[in-house]
Symmetry: C2
Subunit: 228 residues, 2 copies
């Protein structure tokens, strides 16, 4: 009985790791679609968000079934299962943020929403997003607390990129008008929130392993209000 429970928990954990890969791919493709003004790729990301939602629903149902079948439920098991449900919610939201990036690409097609001098900043944001979601996946699989805490560094990188972005578009030399500035401000926020949710996933792993929430819980870095 106990082994069956552990086996089910492992299956949910594997599902979470796969979700990190799905949303990571989604954000990588959304970034390419944005930078290359690739409409087909943007549409692919938009269509694939449904399969991320479906995966979330499946994992949630498994978690519910697991709790309903496992009686009595031990307090730590309860926490583990409910925390895994919260991770699915974070990951589903990361999928939405990739979708939002893809929608900006589609909205500005056949132009690119990103002017040439901001390409490298967006590209770097895409890379950091990729690194951070890949690490979140490893952390879920390994339950390695040290690796989880390391994600903060990538998140700091994202904050710096955000500052770079806001400095450029608020500068008196900005030559691309309001629409592009607003696009970039929103895009920066999508990447930043994506990273925030990945950090939140890692924090949940730490919380399960140690019983302590690292740092201020949900003390979301709101770089919009610190960067300018």
């Amino acid at each position: 009985m106990r082994d069956a429970f552990q086996g089910e928990l492992d299956a949910i954990r594997n599902g979470l790791v796969e979700m990190t890969q799905q949303v990571g791919f989604g954000m990588a493709r959304a970034t390419s679609a944005l930078l290359e003004a690739d409409l087909d790729l943007a549409e692919t990301v938009i269509a694939q968000d449904k399969s991320i939602d479906k995966r979330r629903d499946e994992l949630e149902e498994r978690a519910y079934d697991l709790l309903a079948r496992q009686q009595p439920v031990v307090a730590t098991d309860l926490r583990t299962v409910i925390t895994s449900m919260r991770m699915t919610a974070d990951l589903e939201r990361m999928g939405d943020l990739a979708l939002h990036v893809a929608k900006v690409a589609r909205m500005r097609y056949p132009s690119s929403a990103v002017p040439p001098e901001m390409v490298s900043t967006i590209m770097e944001m895409g890379h950091v997003a990729q690194r951070i979601v890949t690490k979140a996946g490893s952390v879920i699989a390994s339950r390695n607390v040290a690796a989880a805490l390391e994600l903060e560094r990538n998140d700091d990188e994202m904050d710096r990129l955000n500052e770079t972005m806001f400095r450029a578009l608020m500068s008196p030399d900005w030559a691309h008008g309001i629409q592009t500035a607003v696009d970039l401000a929103q895009l920066a926020r999508f990447y930043e929130r994506f990273a925030d949710h990945a950090v939140s996933v890692a924090h949940r792993v730490v919380y399960l392993a140690t019983g302590e929430w690292p740092g201020a819980r949900d003390d979301e870095p709101n770089s919009y209000t610190t960067a300018n």
Copy 2:
């Protein structure tokens, strides 16, 4: 035993209703702070976000305790308790969004972030936010499905205000420069997300009452990409 469980569920529900009042007050004050460039009021909202986080933590702990003590847990009880945990997460996030609005007010002090001709749009967004969170509170208390579905109409109003905002700031006649445009785009998104979470709370009530999720789950209206 059963009665004690119901009593605990009622206490959690009351806590959720109080949280809607807290975050509603928070957003109302943040809106005043923004429109009147009132630094003290902005600081009050920023400071009070901690008590919203604390309330969330308390309600979550009660929900965990309730499940741990109630053995065996019936499947519908499990769903009710876990759904109430999700509502605390929505409400906590709404508190964060009020905090973000207050931070914009603080950042632009002693100026106001909102130019005179956009004051009525932001004021209206504040009113809609107020109406929608008040209704979400009533829906939690009454579990009235019809009232829950009515929230969609307020959400449509918020979407229209968002469109008005984006049309104004993307217009060739826009006279307030990039920083104000970016501020307003972000503010519009904060109000919109606040309303989205209130709708999500109401949807959770419908889900508990009927077993069906109304509309597409988490199919978040992303007015940024539809409004321009």
